[in-house]
């Protein structure tokens, strides 16, 4: 039964990811007084891409085609760490957030290599920018998670979620506030959203992620896009799980699970709305302001850790 639900969770995250993107895009469009495309648009994009053929530069080696696959695979595996409906996940019990973070890093590493395999200057440019962002994002992310883990006295995501469910929302410490702020900023950077990166641009002065995947096409591109969507969803789900997990099903009873699902969707929607608001109200940062942006995140995370130590 548990296994079943856990598998369902993973499938949900993987399959709903494009929808989340679609929703965000739709909301943004509405905020900008456009009608916007249907929320299901990403699905049809993926489908189209999957039917196209792979265009491979002559200079490229097997890494070029391996990268998207690895990227997708590890993102799916990462999804298996996240409790959604119940405070349990497929790899949740032993899999802690260090593994989660580094599994995602594995995918990114391969994407970097793939980008540089194209042999164009865009790939290298995108890779070097991506590497800057991700390197600087890793510290605050891990520190923030660290502080939460220290509060909850466990490293396993599942147990951390469980611990938070045990708390009363209004008794959550400053640590959580700080950690949440830090992680939100990091999440924006990690998923390449405004103000760090603009997923819809193709202007080489500004683009980071898009420059990396410029050489990709067809199924490979589809895998990358899908993986990106999953990553976004996974991180949102992680935030939800860590900071407002209340309402997760405590028992296996169908209504409980159903309520949990509904609540979860609502939370996710809320986050999507927030993200869309941020994206359409903030201007994109200059490249060399991104370190400052992440510096703020790091400062918040360090504060969170210090507070945890102080408030024992």
């Amino acid at each position: 039964m548990t296994i079943a639900i856990n598998v369902v969770q993973v499938l949900m995250l993987v399959l709903m990811a494009p929808l989340v993107r679609g929703v965000i895009a739709r909301i943004k469009a509405r905020i900008q007084n456009r009608r916007g495309a249907s929320v299901l648009r990403p699905y049809s994009d993926l489908a189209k891409l999957f039917h196209k053929e792979d265009l491979v530069p002559p200079s490229a080696s097997f890494v070029f085609r391996l990268a998207p696959v690895v990227m997708f695979a590890v993102t799916v595996v990462a999804a298996a760490f996240i409790p959604v409906l119940r405070s349990s996940a497929l790899l949740g019990i032993r899999g802690d957030f260090f593994i989660l973070v580094y599994v995602l890093a594995l995918g990114r590493f391969f994407l970097l290599l793939g980008a540089m395999d194209g042999g164009s200057s865009f790939g290298g440019m995108g890779a070097s920018r991506e590497v800057l962002v991700s390197t600087l994002a890793e510290t605050p992310l891990l520190l923030a998670l660290m502080s939460l883990a220290m509060v909850a006295h466990t490293a396993s995501i599942e147990k951390m979620v469980l611990w938070t469910t045990g708390q009363d929302f209004f008794e959550l410490s400053a640590v959580h506030a700080l950690a949440f702020a830090a992680m939100a900023l990091v999440a924006i950077a990690e998923t390449g959203r405004i103000p760090v990166d603009n997923p819809t641009t193709h202007l080489e002065l500004t683009m980071i992620h898009e420059a990396m995947v410029l050489e990709y096409s067809g199924p490979s591109l589809a895998l990358i896009e899908w993986a990106g969507a999953i990553k976004l969803t996974v991180i949102m789900a992680l935030l939800v799980g860590l900071f407002l997990p209340w309402g997760m099903a405590a028992t296996f009873s169908l209504p409980a699970v159903a309520i949990a699902l509904v609540l979860w969707l609502v939370k996710l929607g809320g986050m999507a709305l927030a993200l869309a608001l941020v994206e359409s109200s903030v201007a994109k940062l200059r490249m060399y302001l991104v370190p400052d942006f992440l510096g703020v995140a790091s400062a918040l995370a360090i504060l969170a850790v210090v507070f945890t130590a102080l408030m024992r």
């Binding site: 042999g119 390197t135 199924p219």
Partner: protein, 657 residues
């Protein structure tokens, strides 16, 4: 049986040079020294493995011959490091068996084949010694033989300067180590390890601190922690590549061994600030080391700096262990030590592999300058794949060995939440931030290395015409790559005996459940990733070759690619404080700056420790020497005055004493 094998291992190592010199004239016997060495190393590998996994103690005692007790004994810690030595030395020897033949001839080849086993021998002495005399014997010889191996490789002004710095710093470090040992003399006159262990109880605290600081400095110099790292990026790149591999992968670890012996085995629990000192040193070495590495585009120097970084990670672990030990948390100390020791092994493996890869590159592309390379993967599939694995594991990515040790280290930082002291509870988690930064930078650095050297299109004709290296070299690299994967996927294999090792010298240690949990979850992740990758890859995707998008230009050439320098530019920009570049822009002709014939831009990065730390000290000594020299005026009457002055001084001393 094992004992006999061990003895024969030592004897064989000593035999190889003799054999080399006897057979040097005989063309057909070329393979004999290498194969003999290989054989003996495999024996050593088995010996070490057996006594590491079974905890069987071995001992060799030559004290009746030598002026001081000269005893070797293998407990689990020694066995682990012996294993580490052999596990790297076997592939390296295999690699060299064709590398040396291809690149060296005549006397130089003979010298290499006779110094290499002696070098290995000295390292074996260091890690197996059980008396100060034997340890120092091996310790000094290790420096000498490695220097000899460097000297054999060539001769130039710069090389001489580097060797000079190397030997000088090593000797100074050795002096500190000697002092650290000698402080035990009052309690343990024979300086036998067992005696030292027991006598520590009688030693006053001030002495313990002195011993600790001396050991920290002495072994730190050998390990190359910043700011004692100056020699490392100078000495490692100029050695013959297999030797650089051994130096970076193994020789540095002997210093870690010595530090663990002193810090944990001999001294036992000390004040917490020891730990914090080591922690801070480790953090600095980690961050600065990897930053300097990112700035390099000479592959071997880059790897040398990344050794500094990894040593920093190891010191982070050891420092954490010391902190926990000082706070009476032996199990968490075990966890930290597991991380540290395992990272020793991991770094040995992947750094050895990386250096061998560098050797393969220089062998086929005749250059180690990243800006000259590119697209090697298509031409050297085996080397490239092995190198890819090495890069992933040194970047600390999951499913490979580098991740395991870093993960253990993260968990031991997390364990600090249980500490009662505020310093511990803040500093250790923040150290996790440092480690995260280091990990991220390492990933960036090696993405750069691999992407520029092996991917994209070749940047020079040499890279264009590069071809795969001969079999033995490939096998050497593949073996190490396999080791990376094995430890990365099934860490339990090593973690169990390793924690037993720690329990041998750490009172109250026990296998922490974190280690178990990791070895339970990693295989699943590996399995699922593998399944997914295979599944998706098995889906047939139609593929068509089309030229890279060139923004409508006719065609891209390799100069349009991102270079290594360009790749690392944003990071260098952000961390510009760490580098002290002195840039020079030269405009020719000088008299008409607005119509230049050529503008050349040079940016030389010095590590700024050389300028601000070492040079003044050296100058001070030399100036004093010159002042003293002036006292020797050459006028005999002045000399007579000195004698009378000495007499009068002594008479006064006599009056007042």
């Amino acid at each position: 049986m094992t004992q006999a094998a061990f003895n024969s291992f030592l004897v064989a190592l000593l035999l190889v040079p003799a054999v080399t010199f006897i057979l040097r004239r005989w063309k057909k016997a070329r393979v004999i020294p290498s194969s003999l060495l290989l054989l003996s190393l495999i024996t050593g590998l088995f010996v070490a493995g057996i006594s590491f996994w079974s905890g069987k103690h071995l001992a060799v005692d030559l004290s009746q011959w030598t002026p001081f007790p000269f005893a070797l004994s293998i407990d689990r810690l020694s066995a682990f490091f012996l294993f580490l030595i052999c596990v790297v030395a076997v592939p390296v020897t295999l690699f060299s068996s064709s590398y040396i033949e291809r690149h060296y001839a005549g006397a130089r080849r003979d010298w290499l084949w006779s110094l290499l086993p002696l070098f290995l021998m000295s390292m074996v002495l260091v890690v197996t010694a059980s008396s100060a005399f034997a340890f120092l014997f091996g310790w000094e010889l290790m420096t000498l033989f490695s220097a000899g191996l460097i000297v054999v490789d060539g001769d130039s002004q710069e090389r001489r300067h580097n060797i000079f710095i190397y030997l000088l710093m090593m000797h100074a470090g050795a002096a500190a180590v000697v002092a650290a040992f000698l402080l035990f003399v009052p309690q343990a006159p024979a300086l036998d390890f067992a005696q030292m262990r027991t006598s520590i109880a009688l030693m006053p605290q001030s002495f313990r601190t002195a011993v600790f600081l001396l050991a920290f400095t002495g072994f730190g110099t050998k390990a190359g922690i910043i700011p004692l790292h100056l020699w490392l990026p100078k000495a490692h790149p100029i050695a013959p590549t297999p030797v650089s591999a051994l130096m970076s992968a193994v020789m540095l670890k002997t210093a870690i061994y010595g530090f663990v012996r002193f810090g944990f085995d001999f001294l036992g629990p000390g004040p917490a600030w020891w730990g914090y000192l080591v922690l801070v040193a480790g953090g600095f070495s980690g961050v600065l080391g990897i930053l300097y590495a990112i700035g390099e585009h000479d592959l071997k120097r880059l790897l040398a700096y990344s050794s500094v970084e990894n040593i920093g990670i190891i010191y982070l672990a050891l420092g954490t262990g010391l902190v926990f030990q000082a706070n009476h948390a032996p199990i968490w100390a075990t966890l930290a030590l597991l991380a540290g020791l395992l990272h020793c092994l991991n770094h040995a493996i992947f750094k050895g592999l990386l250096f061998l890869g560098a050797g393969a590159i220089s062998d086929s592309a005749h250059t180690l300058d990243l800006e000259e390379l590119g697209g090697l993967l298509k031409r050297m599939r085996i080397t490239g794949t092995a190198f890819l694995i090495a890069c992933c594991s040194i970047a600390g990515l999951p499913l490979l060995n580098g991740f395991v040790s870093e993960w253990l280290l993260f968990r031991s930082f997390l364990a600090a939440s249980g500490l009662t002291t505020l310093t511990g509870a803040t500093m250790l988690p923040l150290a996790a931030g440092v480690l995260a930064l280091v990990g991220g930078l390492a990933a960036a650095c090696f993405a750069k290395v691999y992407g520029v050297a092996f991917l994209g299109r070749p940047r020079s004709d040499e890279a264009e015409t590069a071809c795969e290296v001969p079999r033995p070299m490939q096998i050497g690299m593949v073996l190490l790559a396999a080791a990376c994967v094995v430890i990365g996927v099934a860490p339990g294999l090593v973690l169990a005996p390793l924690s037993a090792t720690v329990q041998e010298f750490l009172p109250g240690a026990a296998m922490p459940q974190e280690a178990a949990s990791l070895s339970a979850v990693i295989p699943w992740i590996a399995l699922s990733v593998a399944v997914l990758v295979l599944a998706i890859a098995s889906v047939r995707r139609i593929k068509r070759l089309t030229p890279t998008w060139a923004c409508g230009l006719p065609a891209l050439n390799s100069r349009m690619q991102y270079t290594a320098t360009a790749f690392s530019k944003p990071l260098r920009q952000v961390f510009s404080r760490a580098y002290k570049p002195n840039r020079t822009v030269e405009v020719l002709p000088a008299d008409q700056p607005y119509f230049p014939a050529s503008i050349s831009y040079r940016s030389v990065r010095t590590t700024s420790f050389e300028k601000s730390l070492y040079q003044p000290a050296i100058d001070a000594v030399v100036i004093t020497a010159h002042r003293l020299r002036r006292l020797q005026t050459g006028n005999m009457q002045v000399y007579l005055l000195y004698i009378f002055a000495a007499l009068i001084a002594l008479l006064m001393f006599m009056r007042w004493s």
